[in-house]
């Protein structure tokens, strides 16, 4: 009997394990190996160059630009997105009269907020490219129509505005999803807790700070990891939307774009793999830190 069980378990697990090794682990392993070679992407062979590719990363000005920009995005995008997401989600649930229900029409809002999630990121980048067009774009036309023509800018072509413009798109495209995520988390909080807070005389801010936030902490933590990974990527939006792309003059360069250009334009797959491995460890560190940092004992609600 016991024998059959082992066989059954093996039969169930092995195919999945094999698929995982072939399609997930082996590409990783190959990338690790290639990062130590000078593979050009078209040659049948590659020479082992040791850590030379990694040593090169530190002196590559454009790559360092990319690291800086990704770091800025990593600071701004998750914070703003989660802040907005939490604000909108609480408003949808508790912003109404008396603090017991959502504002009028909250269901419709929730659907509208989710819309950007239905579009592919490339489509979003193309659309926002039109919005940011300095002469005919929605943003500048709107400013001019409102009599604020002096505020109109060449959003994607000015070095200090280009990165914020890209981050705005990333935030716009992801807020809706986190509104829905946090709404679900708030829904799971027992209504009595909010009622108790109300009876104790807590205002909107206090209810949020003392009741809602601690009880949706796990969702916020997961959101941080996801958004952090998205902020370390940002390749699609930058590639489609920005000047250059990655410009002006490296102002919106991201690691993914450097990697892509190094591999496919410069034909240095070995060096590009080193960038990929560096990015992999950055992402891994981020995920571990974000999850560990928030590891506290869980609140028991029963």
């Amino acid at each position: 009997m016991r024998h059959g069980r082992v066989r059954f378990l093996l039969g169930a697990l092995l195919p999945a394990l094999v698929l995982h090794v072939v399609f997930v682990l082996s590409p990783y392993a190959q990338a690790f190996y290639l990062s130590l070679t000078d593979w050009t992407g078209v040659a049948g062979s590659a020479h082992f160059v040791g850590a030379a590719n990694y040593a090169r990363l530190g002196g590559d000005a454009l790559f360092l630009d990319a690291v800086r920009n990704n770091a800025v995005m990593l600071l701004v995008v998750p914070l703003v997105t989660i802040g907005l997401g939490l604000f909108l989600a609480s408003m949808l649930h508790l912003g109404g009269r008396g603090g017991r229900r959502g504002i009028a029409g909250s269901g419709a809002y929730q659907i509208v907020y989710f819309f950007p999630q239905l579009l592919s990121l490339v489509v979003i980048a193309v659309l926002w490219g039109f919005v940011y067009n300095p002469n005919t774009g929605l943003l500048n036309s709107g400013l001019r129509a409102a009599g604020l023509g002096a505020l109109a800018r060449s959003w994607l072509a000015e070095p200090h505005l280009a990165l914020p413009a890209v981050m705005a798109v990333l935030i716009w495209s992801s807020v809706g999803f986190y509104v829905v995520l946090f709404s679900a988390a708030i829904d799971a909080i027992p209504k009595e807790l909010f009622e108790a807070a109300l009876i104790d005389g807590a205002g909107g801010w206090h209810t949020f700070r003392r009741v809602t936030l601690p009880l949706v902490r796990e969702s916020v933590q997961v959101a941080f990891v996801y958004l952090g990974i998205a902020a370390l990527d940002a390749f699609a939006v930058v590639q489609v939307m920005t000047v250059g792309p990655g410009g002006p003059d490296g102002a919106t360069e991201v690691i993914g774009l450097s990697l892509y250009r190094t591999a496919f334009t410069y034909g240095k797959f070995g060096y590009a793999s080193a960038m990929g491995v560096a990015l992999f460890f950055a992402t891994l560190t981020l995920a571990v830190l974000a999850l560990r940092g928030g590891r506290r004992e869980r609140l028991e609600l029963s």
Partner: protein
């Protein structure tokens, strides 16, 4: 209500480390997968060489042709295949028209099973310098010295426009033959200029004077494809090449010390800084894509736009009737210029390659001989309204206004055509030049800082031992 919290929503440190170690340990086992192709050459089965079969094509061998099916389509390539099968009726031709040639061909080069002919063109093309360094390409000298397909008494080499053979040369070998001939210049609407009484300037001083007049009339003098600063690079580098002549271009391409600080380049950079400084660039140009800037130009919001000779076909659906676009040569910077004002930057593109490990290498070469025949090139000029790189292919044809102006520019230039090779040889340097020029025409750096920046990038490429060097 019981909130359902997942028990372990995150991986533990231990499980992550374990995974990482497993991955690292399995690396050597799997490492061979990507680069497992063997480097030995296949024995190319040759046929017998004869007057009608100068390259010795095995008459019944199959031929695989991969063509970029972009703006020009791929019908012209099929027509050349028909010429090939007329010669070798027993040969089976496998034609593939692709959009992303690089993506499809990369694994086949790695596995050493490439097709017999590749048209390495389009956004996702493979880097030629990389292919050459990996010894993946055949020398095309044999086909260049073969008799021309349908021009009796001439070799293929002698039927090509100036610069075509050089464009395909890497080191000592010709490895690519480019089928189309591109000329760069400054475009304007002939009808607009006639209506306003403007004449296309021959010198930069005249250009600035005309720009002042144009600006007064309410039209922006220039626009450019700001999202891709390489477009405004072309007139800048053309102007420098006219001032400094072949020596300047050679010094730049050979990565000579201080090549970018030559007087010709400094004065050309200053000219374009001045164009921007005087407000002669249409506001907002710096953020416009090529389609947006070119559309604005077609709507007569700007008078000049720099572009290559593909502009007319690219703007086919957008150009209003009676716009009559024509291309002018970049004006001379000074009367002391080494080259005349008629000199143009011209280069061939649409690179046809024969992979070194092609099964039917002789067939691939023979296909190029057919493709570069007068009959095939003439058909292409008619259907694609683009200049092919075969001399005289457009003789006697009635051409559209843009293509006609391009042909006239080539005729007027005679042997005074030039091209920079650093863009194809050293892609990282091209990127550095584009970025610097973008900053220059947005007045964030001046001509001196431009030269310093670009020189630094050129020096870095020169010093980098991992980049294969070429000289001309």
């Amino acid at each position: 209500m019981q909130p359902e919290l997942p028990l372990r929503p995150y991986p533990t440190r231990r499980s992550i480390l374990r995974t990482a170690v497993t991955a690292a340990a399995s690396a050597p086992l799997l490492a061979a997968c990507v680069t497992s192709g063997k480097d030995d050459k296949p024995a190319a089965a040759g046929g017998t060489k004869s007057a009608t079969n100068p390259l010795g094509v095995p008459p019944d061998a199959a031929l695989e042709v991969v063509v970029f099916a972009g703006g020009y389509g791929d019908d012209y390539a099929r027509k050349a295949e028909a010429l090939y099968t007329k010669e070798f009726p027993k040969a089976k031709v496998d034609h593939k028209g692709l959009q992303k040639v690089g993506e499809a061909m990369q694994p086949r080069f790695v596995a050493n099973t490439p097709p017999d002919v590749v048209d390495n063109t389009g956004a996702g093309r493979l880097d030629l310098a990389t292919l050459v360094a990996a010894k993946q390409l055949s020398s095309l000298a044999e086909v260049l010295d073969a008799p021309a397909f349908d021009t009796p008494g001439k070799k293929v080499r002698d039927t090509l426009l100036p610069g075509v053979v050089e464009d395909g040369t890497f080191g000592t070998d010709v490895v690519a033959l480019n089928f189309t001939y591109t000329v760069w210049g400054v475009w304007y609407s002939k009808s607009l200029f006639a209506q306003r009484g403007w004449t296309y300037p021959k010198t930069w001083d005249d250009m600035l004077a005309l720009c002042a007049t144009i600006k007064k009339s309410g039209i922006a003098p220039w626009t450019y494809q700001g999202k891709y600063p390489e477009y405004i690079n072309d007139p800048l580098l053309s102007m420098a090449a006219k001032t400094g002549g072949p020596d300047l271009v050679k010094a730049v391409d050979n990565l000579e010390p201080n090549a970018w600080k030559a007087a010709g380049l400094a004065s050309a950079a200053a000219a374009f800084a001045e164009l921007a400084g005087k407000g002669y660039l249409m506001a907002g140009s710096e953020a416009l894509s090529h389609t947006e800037a070119q559309a604005a130009w077609c709507q007569r919001k700007a008078a000049f736009i720099p572009c290559g000779s593909w502009l007319e076909s690219e703007q086919k659906g957008v150009t209003p009737a009676g716009f009559d676009m024509v291309m002018g040569a970049v004006p001379s910077r000074s009367s002391a210029d080494v080259r005349p004002v008629t000199a143009v930057q011209a280069a061939s593109s649409e690179s046809y390659l024969v992979p070194a490990r092609a099964k039917n290498r002789a067939g691939g070469l023979e296909y190029l001989r057919a493709l570069f025949s007068n009959e095939s090139a003439r058909g292409f000029a008619q259907s694609a309204s683009t200049l092919p790189s075969v001399a005289g292919a457009t003789d006697g044809l009635t051409l559209s206004s843009g293509l006609g102006s391009v042909r006239d520019a080539v005729t007027a230039a005679g042997s005074d055509t030039f091209t920079y090779r650093f863009r194809t040889w050293y892609a990282p340097l091209a990127k550095a030049v584009d970025d610097a020029t973008g900053e220059l025409v947005n007045r964030r750096i001046d001509a001196g800082a431009w030269a310093t920046r670009v020189q630094k990038a050129a020096d870095a490429v020169a010093k980098d031992s991992s980049i294969q060097k070429y000289t001309r």
